[in-house]
Structure formats: C-alpha cells, structure tokens
C-alpha cells in the first residue's frame, strides 16, 4: 500500500470547505458592492464600521460556535448580553468602578455558563430547553433591574468609551477637505482577541479538540477517554463568559442599557455560525468561518440599505433569502460529498 507519503495533500475537510465557500462569497459580494454600489463600500472605514457595530455579535458567535461544535446550542447568549449591559450600567451609575464592572460582567457570564452547563452536562437535560430557560431568566432579570433605558453617567467609563484606535493609512479625505482616519473601537480589539483565543483553543489545545470529539461522536469520545461531561460543561462556560464580555463590549459601543438590548442576537449569532460553516449537528465548524459569517451577514444588510430598498421589511427579507441561499448551498455541498463516499 502506498501509505507512506505523508505529504500528500488531504482533501478539504468539511470545516475548511464550508469556510472557504463563505470567504469566497463574502469577498465576491463585497467587491461587487464596491463596483456597483460604490459609496461607502470604497472606504476601509465601512469595514471598520461593520466591526464596530458588531463586535459584541462576533464575540457571542465565537462562544456559540464552540457550543455548536460540541453538538449543543445556547440561545441564552443575547439575553445574557443584555443582562450584563443593564447590570453594568446600573453598577457604574451607582458609584461602581470600571474594574468592578468588568468583574461583574465576567461573573454574570460565568454564572449563566455554569448553571446551564451543569444542567446540560451533569443532569442530562436538553440544551435547547435549558438555554431557553436561561434566556427567559436573563431577559426577566433585565426588566426587573430596569424597564426604562439607562444611560451610563460615569466619567471613567466615558473616557474608556471614547478611546478609538485611529489608523491614518486607511483614512480618507472627506469632500470638505478634512482628513478622517479609519477608526476602530476598543471592543473590536477585544473581539479580535477572542477570535484568536478561541481559534488557538480549538486547534491546538486539548480541550478544543475535545469539543470536536464530543460533537463528532459522543459515545466514541467517552470511549477514547475524554471526560465528556466536563468538556461539555466547559463549552457552556466559554459561551457564558464570552456573552459576559460581549455584554461589556456592547455597553462600550452604546453607552446605555435598555431592556431590549441585543434582542434577537442569539439568532443572528446562530446565523453567523451557520453561514461560517458550523453545523448544528456538531463536530464541524471553525471560528474564522464564524467571523466571516458575521461579516457576510452584516454586509448583506449594508448592501440592502445602500441599494435604496428603504421599506423597513426589506432588510430582514433579504437576510432571510441570503440565509436560505447559504443553508441550501451547504446542504447541497455536504450531500454531494457524502454521496461520493
């Protein structure tokens, strides 16, 4: 048997294939937007705006990707984000410190992660139900804290919020002659760090491969000596903590708390992960794909707005159409591959 050629190229794995498709489509779509719609798409700031607006979505999606790779689901992420925003805003307004608020955000995320992870892994309850309850709990607690919108009135925080990373090289000169550098918020840096962290975790750390193993075949993973329960527990902890971070980033972006913050974010996050090539059945997915999934999703929305479809319904109808396209594409690609085998 000619099995000794280690350097033979392996065919793309499902993860890589789905991610590549997404990246190609994203690039093509963006290029088309640059050519046809022009306007904002010609400026790098457009991408930075997309990142600024969606930093917290990216973070949440990363956590969700981890859970989904482990064949779970966490639909509480948006609600936890919202709860974190509201709690931190109230905490800051009642004389809390910045360090304290960061700590609070992480604790809330961790608490939700632990509670949900415990119920799902150790008591063997269906993840959908547990995280649905978590979502209700977080949403309910948010409104118990305050039904009315709250603005942060904390000087230190205002200063922190206003920190922007300016990149002159990617700036442009506005029609009125002013030079505007590309601006990136701190939250984006946090989001990028999260991506790098999760990427390394999934690829090079024992625990990360464990997520793939339990998602691929839970029974096998157990037989292979992986502590399935603990691994699953940790996947929800990661998702919970990332929701906490996402909440803080959200607050840095908006500077206010509102009971309807991050409404529907869980579904956007699931959509991002799916577009990025994560399968809900588990075992397949990649956090880079999720990042591009989020960008693709956002770009579609931007394109709809820029093409002058101003009626309020077009944005989500196109998003739905696009989602449909990606889902069908994945299905066709995966079915064809499976049939070949």
């Amino acid at each position: 048997m000619k099995n000794n050629n280690r350097y033979q190229r392996e065919p793309l794995t499902d993860t890589q294939l789905l991610m590549s498709i997404t990246i190609v489509i994203f690039v093509v779509m963006y290029l088309l937007a640059m050519i046809i719609l022009q306007g904002g798409f010609l400026h790098p700031q457009q991408i930075f705006d997309m990142l600024n607006d969606n930093a917290s979505l990216i973070i949440v999606s990363c956590g969700l990707t981890v859970v989904m790779i482990g064949a779970g689901i966490d639909i509480s992420v948006g609600a936890v984000t919202s709860l974190v925003v509201m709690s931190c805003v109230m905490y800051l307004n009642n004389g809390g410190s910045i360090a304290g608020s960061v700590f609070l955000a992480l604790c809330i995320g961790l608490a939700f992660g632990m509670m949900q992870g415990f119920l799902i892994s150790y008591l063997d309850i269906q993840p959908f139900i547990v995280t649905l309850a978590g979502m209700f709990l977080a949403r309910g607690m948010t409104t118990i804290l305050s039904v009315n919108p709250q603005k942060v009135e904390h000087e230190g925080f205002a200063a922190l919020r206003s920190i922007k990373i300016e990149i002159n090289a990617l700036g442009y000169t506005a029609p009125n002659g002013n030079f505007i550098p590309a601006r990136m918020e701190l939250g984006v840096v946090v989001a990028l760090l999260c991506i790098v962290f999760i990427f390394i975790l999934l690829k090079y750390i024992r625990l990360g491969r464990g997520f793939y193993a339990i998602g691929g075949n839970q029974q096998s993973a157990l037989m292979l000596g992986i502590n399935v329960k603990r691994t699953r527990f940790l996947s929800y902890i990661i998702s919970g903590v990332l929701s906490g971070i996402s909440g803080y980033v959200f607050m840095m972006h908006t500077g206010a708390g509102n009971a309807t913050n991050a409404a529907g974010m869980e579904m956007n996050a699931i959509a991002s992960s799916i577009i990025g090539g994560t399968l809900l059945t588990g075992g397949v997915g990649n956090v880079l794909g999720t990042f591009f999934g989020t960008l693709t999703l956002t770009t579609i929305k931007k394109i709809v707005v820029s093409s002058g479809l101003n009626d309020p319904w077009w944005q989500s109808i196109t998003t739905g159409g696009m989602l449909c396209f990606f889902i069908l594409l994945q299905s066709v690609v995966l079915n064809r591959r499976n049939r070949k085998k």
């Binding site: 048997m1 099995n3 000794n4 392996e10 793939y212 075949n217 037989m223 292979l224 000596g225 992986i226």
Partner: protein, 499 residues
C-alpha cells in the same frame, strides 16, 4: 510467562432492572495469552466487558490487575490501569484525523503538537502495515481501516490488557489475518488479549484459552486444545447438538418446481454493478463472497434499497418497474437488512408495532390495523417464533439481538411474502436462534416461498441453500449447485484462481 496472572475478576455481579446480567462471574487472564470469551447473546459477555472497561459499574465483586485491587468507574480509569478496548462498532470520532484519533484523550500536557503526533502515528501505522495516513480524516477511511486505527491506538497505549470485542465482524479474510498476526505479535510482548467473537474457527485459530458464559453465569474455563468445537458449542447453548444433525437430513432435495418467480437482467444500482439473477418459486439460494464482494449490494439492488440505475425486472413473468422498496413490497418481496440496528428495528417502538410495521405500510396510510388485530398478530408471532420478550409492548431495543432479529422476521412473515431476502439474518445472534432461523428458511421454502439467504458462515449456507451464487470484486463469478455444493468448492470459487 504464560502462568503469570495479569487480570482477575472475582464474583462479578451486575443487575439491570428486572434482570441479573452477571451472577458471580469469575474471569482470569494471564500474561501473554489470547483468551476467548464465548457465550450466546445475552450470556453476559458484553456486560462483563463493559464492567471491565468502566462503562457499567459492577454491583458486586472485585477486579485485580497484577495483584492490585482496582476500582474502575470510567473508561479513563480502565485506560489508566492499562485496559484498552476495541469495540465492534467503531468508537472513534469520524470528524477528526487518524492521528488525532490515536492520541486524543491521552495527550501529555494541554497543548496539541500536531506535527509530533502525526509523525508518531505514521510510524505506528507503517509498523502495523495499516493502509492509512495520519493526516487523513477518519471518515474517509474504510471501516476495516478505522477498526485497525482503533487497534493501533490501543497498541500505542502500551496496554496490558487488550479487549477485542467482535473485531473481525467487518473485516475480510486478509484483514483478519493481518489482525491475527498483530494479535500474536502483541501476545509475544506479554499483552493479555480478551477476544470476543462469534466465529468459532477464529477462536480455534488464535486463542489459547476459552471462558464460556451462559445466562450471566460462568460455565467454565478451558484450554483451547482440550475443548473440541462441538463441545464448545454444547457448553455455550447448554444442550446437546442432535438438532444440528437433524437439519442436515432435510436439506438434500432439489426443488422440482420450475416456475420462475423473480428475474432480473442487467440490474444495477448506485452500489451494485449490473448483474443477472433469477429465482424459482420455493427455491432457497444464497449469495456468497467476501465482505465487499458485492453480495449485500446486489440483494439491496433486488429490493430497491439503493437507487436502482438500470435493468429489466420481471416478477412472475410480468415486467415491473421498481424504484423504491415499497414497489418491491407490493410485489410480495421482503428484505431483512444486514445491519439490524441501523436498517431493521425501530428500537423505541414496541414489539407489536415493529411486527405490524411492514404490513401496515402495505395496507397504506388510510387503513390502519386496529389495536386488537395488531395484538393478535403480535401474540401469534411471539409464539410461533418463540420470541423471548416480557410482553408485546416491550420496546424492541431492549430485547437481545437474536430476539430482535426474530421480530424483524415476524414483520416480514406477516406480509406473507412470495420472496424473502435475508441478508445475514444470523449475524451476531446465538447458536440456538441461528438454528431456528435456518429451519424456518427451509420451512418457508417448503411452503413455496423463494428465499435468498446470505451468511458469512459458508457452512450455514451449504446447509440451507440449493444454489449458491458466488461473487468476487462486485461481479458474479460462479453459480454452484448439486454436487458442487461443498465447502472446498465454494472456497475455491470465492478465492478465484483455477475456478
């Protein structure tokens, strides 16, 4: 070395709700021996293995490894104590690479050194002569290779005790030999191997010692050379083997009827190459060949289980068009699939619902079988086929393999088929039930039902079939009947060469 005791299990008890699965079982494994663990289905082999590997917790008894008392609560505990298992079903992760599958769960440190692992994996694969690359996705490998990767993993774990649970059931002869070479190699290194299998010849080929279980109790431990095959079977089923002889006498008759029931010309499917086939009314024929020779694929094509891509089919002389199983069922054909768990039983449904399923489908959605009717059918077949079940409402998944098979048989018998295709109906079930099924096949033929019977055990087919179709490399290479129906001739045809 042979007498140094490696593993000892004493008075192991295991109770499941309502069943005592193991009752004071002793088991001793010595260094450097291959020890076959034998017993019918439901004898407690799998339970004993699962207790040893930490999947189940024992309710009583003790386990010692090299004289040390150990407690095993999880597969990890077992691994840490040098006990590794390779199961019949592949217990690896299909979405990871070969190298990852070999090293996951036992990495040193939190970081994964992909390059390092791949190098080590390649070394082992080369040494064991396994046709796989370390960077390959496991799901892109064949089942046999996946099995060997699992063994490679265990080998690399420097295990003291290696449990092979039905490792050969999805391997062909060449691969089996490769595996045996590997087992002997490990044995000479002092590894104790527990070998669970249904293939008696393999036990005699490779094992040193045999422990027999029956109904959750220990029957005895024997040196392989001291226990003739017939006696082994007798100990396993706990009765004398007159019945086996019995069957031999009824076999000799050739069917006189000439009416052809089913005829296919150039039939092909997505998985089967074009072939011609015909079967007469009341005839029992068999497809034989090595695993992967296309025997299962061919009968699947006959039933329309895979997408049929071409060919002309005549049933009772009338041309018919078949695309899906339901078309075949309407023409009086039934098919018992090779993979009972995947393609046969509906595990959580009751025995009753499983039995009436095919008939209900034939009746159509709008003519439901009433509850009382269904109960009558179920009771009838539970009695006729001697299905051992607590009641007709018991979920089929909780029955033993042989009884599950009988339920599926009942399902097809209930449709009163003219032609029944049985693909490996006797696989993984106990000797007693095997015999009952063979008898049933002959009886059906007497009643004018055509039967296609496939079994990995050639002897079984020789006993039941009046005609054997031999396949090799997805082609039909011969058809044997009458005087040619003997083991030597069949083997020769399968193997090719002068045939």
């Amino acid at each position: 070395m042979q007498n140094e005791i490696l593993l000892q299990m004493r008075h192991i008890d295991k109770v499941f709700p309502g069943v005592k699965a193991l009752n004071g079982v002793d088991f001793t494994l010595r260094k450097g021996e291959i020890h076959a663990l034998m017993g019918e289905n439901g004898a407690g082999k799998s339970t004993l293995i699962k207790v040893l590997t930490g999947v189940y917790r024992m309710d009583g008894g003790e386990i010692t490894v090299e004289g040390k008392n150990i407690s095993i609560h999880s597969p990890q505990d077992a691994q840490n104590n040098g006990i590794s298992t390779v199961y019949q079903e592949i217990t690896l992760c299909p979405n990871l690479t070969v190298a990852e599958n070999m090293f996951i769960g036992r990495e040193d440190g939190a970081w994964i050194k992909h390059k390092d692992y791949e190098k080590r994996a390649d070394e082992i694969l080369t040494r064991l002569n396994i046709p796989a690359r370390s960077t390959q996705q496991l799901e892109n490998c064949s089942l046999a290779v996946q099995q060997m990767v699992a063994i490679a993993r265990a080998v690399d774990m420097k295990c003291k005790v290696l449990i092979l649970d039905e490792p050969t059931s999805s391997l062909d002869d060449k691969e089996v030999n490769m595996l045996f070479t590997l087992m002997r190699d490990l044995k000479s290194q002092g590894v104790g191997i527990i070998f669970v299998t249904h293939f008696l010849e393999q036990v005699y080929e490779v094992s040193d010692r045999i422990t027999v279980l029956r109904n959750g109790e220990l029957v005895g431990e024997y040196l392989t050379e001291d226990l003739p095959q017939v006696e082994l079977v007798a100990r396993m089923i706990g009765k004398e083997l007159d019945e086996l002889m019995d069957l031999g006498e009824t076999e000799e008759k050739e069917k006189k009827e000439t009416e052809v029931f089913y005829e296919a010309e150039n039939l092909s499917s997505t998985d089967a190459l074009p072939f011609n086939f015909a079967i007469k009314k009341g005839e029992v024929n068999g497809f034989t060949g090595l695993l992967g020779s296309g025997r299962s694929e061919s009968v699947r094509a006959i039933f329309g289980a895979d997408k049929v891509t071409g060919g002309d089919v005549k049933i009772k002389g009338q041309p018919v068009k078949i695309t899906r199983p339901i078309d075949e069922m309407k023409n009086g054909i039934g098919y018992l699939a090779e993979d009972r768990k995947r393609d046969g039983i509906i595990a959580e449904l009751s025995v009753r619902e499983n039995i009436i399923l095919a008939l209900q489908v034939l009746n159509g959605m709008f003519k439901p079988i009433s509850r009382s009717e269904a109960e009558a059918f179920a009771d009838e077949y539970i009695k006729v086929l001697n299905i051992k079940t607590a009641s007709r409402e018991t979920p089929v998944g909780s029955l033993s393999g042989g009884n599950q098979q009988k339920v599926i048989l009942a399902r097809w018998l209930l449709t009163h088929p003219d032609y029944l295709i049985l693909d490996e109906p006797t696989r993984g079930i106990d000797v007693g039930t095997k015999l009952e099924i063979q008898k049933l096949v002959l009886k059906l033929a007497e009643d004018g039902v055509s039967v296609t019977f496939i079994s990995s055990e050639v002897e079984e087919m020789l006993r039941t079939c009046s005609r054997l179709i031999v396949m090799r490399d997805r082609h039909i290479v011969g058809e044997l009947k009458g005087a040619d129906l003997n083991q030597a001739k069949v083997m020769k045809t399968i193997a090719g060469g002068e045939a």
